[in-house]
């Protein structure tokens, strides 16, 4: 009870912090937000009028109060750049990022964990080095460059996958967007051609993001596994005559999963911030691109909206990983059923 109250407080504080930081950024950026609205050619009086409408002439504290006040009422206003309510924009852009990030993390975790386990089991062996190098390469390549190269190869030269964008123009309007997640929408509509098109647009960027999170996840898996494999209960398990497979997957990994969920959750959060660079290269209309573009034009309403979403995602995933932590590790469940003897 009291814990949950403290937790609520924490969240409130975090949000206020996000608000403050965003506001601060919006004011320190040497861009006149009004200029973003009226453009280069605007006569002075138009610019001034807009500045007043945006309350840019008020003293800063007053501006901040207004800003927070509106935000607290959930009114993030309209985006200057898209003329839409910020929430509408986010409802359009976030699913795009969500789709990409989710596929990315599935690939990343789905391959990263087994690879990490493999490396740990074959510690110092060829497999270990192979996985290590592969992962470190993942850490080390500039993604925008790799992305473009991948496009050239798989899209332009080989024609295995579809190019930039989320779906072929042919289907752009045939499928109506319910969730905004193309794979779901197309599947729900039963438009399998559209589904295939969406999928083949998704594969490349998702694989790329997947690879990058794979790099991190496999490394962490490895070190967690090494840690577990050194434990006494592994010796016990061997003494019981269990097969290595069972010892590794059921005993060691099962324990390693406990810290691993946090790692995975966090890299998922990382992907959900939206990778500006990937989204640029693949013309993917996602959150990262939205926030960056808004930021560069001092469209602070949009930036705030985006930031709040990212912040929420971050907090949410932290909660989720805590919850999973409890599920996975009985020691964290505070049930004292035990007795001595």
């Amino acid at each position: 009870m009291q814990a949950s109250a403290r937790f609520a407080l924490v969240i409130v504080v975090t949000y206020l912090g996000l608000l403050a930081v965003t506001f601060f950024i919006g004011r320190v950026i040497p861009v006149d937000p009004a200029l973003a609205v009226v453009g280069d050619r605007a006569p002075e009086h138009v610019l001034q009028r807009v500045r007043e409408e945006m309350g840019l002439n008020l003293p800063l504290p007053q501006q901040f109060v207004r800003y927070v006040g509106r935000a607290l009422q959930g009114d993030f206003g309209n985006s200057v750049l898209t003329s839409n309510p910020v929430w509408d924009d986010i409802r359009k852009t976030f699913p795009a990022t969500l789709e990409l990030a989710t596929c990315g993390i599935i690939i990343g975790a789905g391959f990263g964990v087994p690879l990490g386990v493999w490396a740990a089991v074959r510690r110092g062996g060829l497999a270990d080095h192979a996985v290590r190098v592969m992962a470190l390469v993942g850490y080390s390549v500039p993604i925008f460059w790799l992305g473009l190269m991948a496009l050239v190869l798989f899209y332009a030269k080989l024609g295995w996958v579809a190019g930039p964008g989320r779906i072929d123009v042919a289907y752009e309007f045939s499928v109506q967007r319910v969730t905004g997640i193309m794979l779901l929408d197309t599947a729900m509509a039963g438009e399998w051609d559209a589904f295939r098109s969406a999928l083949s647009h998704l594969v490349l960027p998702a694989a790329l993001l997947g690879y990058f999170s794979l790099a991190y996840i496999s490394r962490m898996t490895r070190s967690f596994m090494l840690n577990e494999l050194a434990q006494e209960y592994i010796v016990a398990a061997r003494a019981k005559g269990l097969s290595e497979t069972r010892i590794i997957w059921r005993h060691a990994l099962r324990n390693a999963l406990v810290p691993l969920v946090t790692v995975i959750a966090l890299s998922y959060a990382g992907l959900l911030e939206g990778s500006v660079l990937t989204e640029t290269v693949f013309a993917w209309p996602g959150l990262g691109l939205y926030i960056t573009h808004s930021l560069q034009n001092a469209d602070m309403n949009a930036v705030l909206g985006g930031t709040i979403v990212v912040g929420t995602v971050f907090i949410g995933l932290n909660l989720l990983s805590d919850a999973l932590y409890r599920v996975l590790d009985p020691r964290t469940r505070d049930t004292r059923r035990g007795t001595g003897s």
Binding site: V235, R238, K240, G241, N255, D329, R331
Partner: protein, 283 residues
């Protein structure tokens, strides 16, 4: 002494265990240990680092990666442990040779219910239905003197006391009814009162099931009171082998040293005897 008519349960000739040294080359931690074991209680005593645990693990086949085990002979009943395939070694482990480890706090898997861990041993050696397994687990827990097995089964290691944990450990190791049990300091992590209970249980089960037991400990008194025969190890060698009842006649100064360190009721405690070590013993 075991009955010579039957071939010994375990015979070890010139067992050596070596590990790669930080400074290149190999260092031997067990240096030519030999003994044979029937269906009896053998104690191995020595300070930490004397190689007693390594001897035990080498027999079970749990020498840590990097370690090299060699011996003139290492046979368990009719099986030549040196030459048999890893699979067979694995089948033996927990099946015919079991090992109880020191501290249940670490030797039980923290995220698995105790019952599941015990059942696992059984399943690994004599596949059987879940219900069947459950029944056997309950029996095993009861056998180690746990009143309400049904409840304990569902508990996780962190939820039980050390004593109960160690009993569970024993149950886990005995459920596949092995012929040889190696107990590596099974009680030194427990508080004294509990120690005796656990030893009692161990004693009973070994007797009932006619198992061979290798009891590894640093506590000479404990061993002498509990075993038929005692190997005294120092620096990787057996310095003395002696029947528990003959201990007071021990020849080797090291053994005597160990004995003198044991406080005797009535006798004055001053000056406190100290254990002296002579390098030549290690030769």
């Amino acid at each position: 002494m075991s009955n010579p008519a039957r071939l010994p349960l375990l015979s070890v000739q010139d067992l050596r265990v070596a590990y790669p040294a930080r400074e290149g080359g190999m260092t031997e931690v067990v240096r030519g240990v030999s003994f044979t074991l029937g269906r009896e209680r053998l104690g191995i005593v020595g300070e930490s680092g004397s190689g007693k645990s390594q001897t035990g693990r080498a027999i079970v086949g749990l020498t840590a990666p990097g370690g090299v085990v060699s011996a003139a002979q290492l046979r368990f009943g009719d099986v030549d442990l040196l030459r048999c395939a890893p699979e067979q070694r694995q089948a033996l482990r927990g099946g015919r040779i079991a090992m109880v480890l020191q501290d249940p706090k670490y030797s039980l898997n923290p995220v698995m219910a105790i019952g599941a861990q015990i059942a696992e041993t059984l399943q690994a050696h004599q596949p059987c239905r879940a219900a069947q397994a459950r029944r056997q687990v309950l029996e095993a827990l009861a056998a180690v003197g746990i009143e309400d097995p049904a409840r304990v089964m569902k508990l996780y290691p962190h939820e039980v006391s050390g004593g109960m944990g160690q009993r569970a450990m024993i149950a886990m190791m005995l459920i596949a009814s092995p012929e040889l049990l190696i107990a590596d300091e099974p009680t030194s992590a427990l508080d004294v009162t509990v120690q005796l209970q656990v030893l009692g249980i161990l004693d009973r089960l070994v007797a009932e099931r006619g198992m061979g037991l290798i009891f590894i400990s640093h506590d000479l008194r404990l061993v002498s009171s509990f075993c038929d025969r005692v190997l005294v190890m120092y620096a990787g060698r057996v310095v003395e082998e002696i029947a528990a009842t003959e201990l007071h006649r021990a020849q080797h100064p090291y053994t005597q040293g160990l004995l003198n360190c044991l406080p005797q009721l009535g006798a004055s405690r001053h000056p406190l005897p100290t254990l002296d070590r002579k390098p030549e013993w290690a030769l």
